[in-house]
Symmetry: C2
Subunit: 154 residues, 2 copies
């Protein structure tokens, strides 16, 4: 199975956070697993807030893209499609809430585990935790909506 | 007067979002004005979510750093210090909430206007709006706390 972001249509694959066609981007990759999605990301040495600790804006960015993929995966399952095999529909972020539970250490791969906790036709609510090893460093709650017509390629 | 981030002590000036010593970073600059803070930022062409629209994770990052500077400025004023002249104390983010009101167009300078709406000894709550020209594109509410001892340089 492929990461969900690699199955966005080309027009939706330029995202700085997760687009495979954005050569300057972060390339967040979310894999569907057990009814939710997992992403793994190793921050660059310059992705710091203070020396030794990961930048919160990076964590918010990872949460944002990972939540959109999770929302898409949940909507696919509901429609009888297979996340990681079938094309991924593009959601966008209506609201992003990140609670930082403790400083996130650098030098460790971060693991984001997300699930959809509410799902409607147009709106999906995703919750996730961000882990550095055994430490839960952040939680996020993200409201995803289907990409509106105004954002679609003309 | 200087941007508040340029008056963080050197040890606190490595932030990817706003540290003057982070050569790979975004260099968010917040200026104290009329009891609040204003930041101006022009996203790079690759800072997109979909073609034509700014990446939400970037907006969250700008909000994060701008809120920390705003919290610091409010705490300075309460202590009889002058934001933009005296050294800026370092706050860190406890919680970050961003509501995306409409897609944020690229090619325009973004303006972030923030104020502290609650202020205690250790915790400051900041609210802001993110504007692209005449359009209010996002709102953020951020809880800032004084950098804990565990994050200070040893």
């Amino acid at each position: 199975m492929q990461p969900l972001q690699d199955l966005y249509p080309d027009d939706f694959s330029h995202c700085y956070g997760c687009g495979r066609l954005n050569t300057d981007g972060l390339h967040v990759k979310s894999e569907w697993h057990n009814g939710g999605a997992i992403a793994r990301f190793r921050p660059a040495p310059y992705h710091i807030a203070l020396p030794g600790f990961v930048y919160g804006g990076l964590i918010a960015s990872l949460a944002d893209c990972h939540a959109m993929a999770t929302a898409a995966g949940a909507s696919m399952v509901a429609a009888g499609l297979v996340p990681g095999r079938d094309p991924t529909p593009r959601f966008v972020t209506a609201s992003l809430q990140v609670d930082f539970l403790r400083p996130t250490p650098v030098g460790t791969e971060l693991i984001l585990r997300a699930k959809a906790v509410e799902r409607g036709e147009k709106k999906v609510v995703v919750e996730m935790s961000v882990w550095a090893g055994e430490a839960e460093c952040a939680k996020a709650r993200v409201i995803a909506v289907r990409a509106p017509a105004a954002m679609l390629p003309q």
